[in-house]
């Protein structure tokens, strides 16, 4: 199987604060990989370097394809309120002919079950629906890699389960390669084919775990399966859950910096 994403010795430093310290991993075609780490371990920086929003201070990110798409945590800010749902999905497709654009948008909206809402404005929809729009937009772009930044952290628990299952279904049906960055251990085990566990500041790879669960997953049975429980405990131990381990101040400063440092398209 070929690699869609190859990350080699990726490191990023803000001033004298090292956010990521030499990460090396691959994502194979069609695979769903979850990156999980303690809050403030530099996941955000990792995502921004992979997506090309900031240039890493060292190392290499190689994407096997022309472009990737990102689904951000904050759907309210990531969707454009002046465009309809359909307009939002067509947003990355402006260089295509109109008919093609329409077709792809309609298709993507159907995948996420939002065909009926195409003419609405994003803010007329619930949070979960809005995040579906963002997912449809990313899928319509036909990315080599779908990058998701805490995609379900801002919705309620019920919606979260729905969206997780939606993601699993869509990526199975369309053979999408996905990299999900999350701080939620359960989510990473439930979604992933493989889990990359990171340590906190600087982020280093602690473990690279295959998920020993069948491809078909179910919110009730999977979450109670022995394999699920065992892996969850293992990841939790690796993350040192319950022990104070990180410098909150330092992390907050770095996070602020990472937000101001942007390869803006202006």
């Amino acid at each position: 199987m070929s690699n869609m994403l190859e990350v080699a010795d990726l490191g990023h430093t803000y001033g004298d604060y090292e956010a990521i310290g030499g990460l090396t991993f691959d994502v194979r075609a069609g695979e769903l990989v979850c990156v999980v780490g303690p809050s403030g371990c530099g996941k955000s920086t990792l995502l921004r370097t992979i997506s090309g929003l900031i240039k890493p201070t060292r190392g290499d990110v190689r994407l096997n394809g022309s472009h990737l798409a990102v689904v951000f945590q904050d759907y309210q800010r990531s969707l454009f309120p002046w465009l309809t749902v359909q307009g939002n999905v067509e947003f990355p497709l402006r260089s295509l002919p109109r008919a093609e654009r329409r077709k792809r948008a309609a298709e993507a909206l159907e995948w996420v079950g939002l065909t009926a809402a195409a003419r609405k404005r994003p803010w007329q929809l619930s949070g979960g629906m809005q995040q579906r729009v963002a997912i449809a937009r990313a899928l319509a772009f036909r990315p080599a890699l779908l990058l998701m930044d805490e995609p379900f952290a801002s919705v309620d628990a019920q919606t979260r389960f729905e969206l997780e299952d939606l993601l699993l279904r869509v990526r199975r049906e369309h053979d999408t390669t996905v990299l999900v960055v999350t701080h939620d251990i359960d989510e990473s085990v439930y979604l992933g084919d493989r889990i990359l566990v990171l340590s906190s500041s600087p982020a280093r790879l602690v473990a690279n775990l295959e998920v020993p669960l069948p491809a078909e997953r179910d919110q009730v049975t999977t979450r109670t399966a022995d394999g699920f429980v065992a892996l969850r405990s293992k990841v939790a131990r690796l993350l040192n859950v319950g022990k104070p381990s990180m410098d909150v101040e330092k992390w907050a400063a770095a996070e602020r910096e990472s937000l101001s440092e942007t390869v803006s398209s202006s």
Binding site: H67, V70, S78, L83, R94, F141, S264, S265
Partner: protein, 255 residues
């Protein structure tokens, strides 16, 4: 409907009181509304050349100058707003230029241009460009980080970035600036015509003053009030349509 009636009843009442007082007092300074209306009718309707030679040129200059100022102001504002370096250089100059009271510029432009349309248009443009410019700068800077990131990730073209992201994101602020500059345009139009012109509404006002014709002066004031009200209402209607996408809640607007 009840409120509507109530509102206009008070208005009509005040006009009636003025009418009665005007008739009773018979003060040349305060002619009753009926006389003002008659004067306006005679002035602009019975003598249509007053309309075509004075009122329309005034409105034409006003709209032309406002349009020029708006286009330049928005274009320049978006450019400055998205470029930190340019803003660093331009900011001190902007802060100073916008604080100059526009009427003080009338004499400057009088010396630079001959009395006439170009001088008036230049005065208005220079006077009203600042609200548009500064609001466009603010608007362009207010594009939130996630939208900037989203646009970068999807590798959109420059034209889509400018017209599809920055311009709409800035549009609520831009419209606020456009409204301020429109009413300022009216003010500057009047001043430039009062000081130096050979036609226009302001010039007619000066003529009426020279003739001590108070009724016509009041008629001119009312005409300018109606003009200001009409222009503002028209712009508000456009704004409401253009910004119809805004969420009902005010959160996004204020963010």
């Amino acid at each position: 409907m009840n409120k509507f009636l109530q509102r206009w009843a008070v208005f009509a009442g005040l006009v009636a009181v003025w009418e009665a007082l005007g008739l009773l007092a018979d003060d040349p300074f305060f002619p009753p509304p009926s006389e003002i209306a008659v004067a306006a009718w005679e002035w602009w309707v019975l003598e249509p050349e007053n309309l075509t030679d004075h009122v329309l040129p005034s409105i034409g200059r006003l709209l032309a100058a406002w349009a020029i100022a708006s286009v330049i102001g928005v274009a320049l504002g978006l450019l400055l707003g998205r470029s930190d370096r340019a803003m660093e250089y331009a900011n001190p100059l902007l802060v100073f230029l916008r604080s100059i009271p526009p009427p003080a510029l009338v004499p400057v432009f009088l010396l630079l241009f001959k009395v006439g349309t170009s001088m008036q248009v230049a005065t208005i443009v220079f006077g009203v460009i600042w609200p548009v410019l500064l609001n466009s700068v603010d608007g362009a800077r207010s594009v939130d980080v996630t939208k900037v990131d989203t646009s970068a990730v999807f590798q959109i073209r420059r034209a889509q970035w400018v017209f599809g992201v920055v311009l709409p994101a800035a549009s609520p602020k831009i419209f606020a600036g456009l409204r301020v500059s429109l009413s300022l345009s009216l003010v500057l139009m009047v001043i430039s015509e009062l000081v130096a012109a050979d036609n226009g509404i302001g010039w007619q006002l000066m003529q009426a003053q020279r003739d001590f014709d108070y009724t016509r002066m009041w008629a001119g004031v009312v005409l300018l009030g109606v003009l200001g009200y009409g222009l503002n209402t028209a712009l508000l209607a456009v704004e409401r349509r253009a910004l119809a996408w805004q969420p009902r809640s005010r959160d996004e607007q204020h963010a």
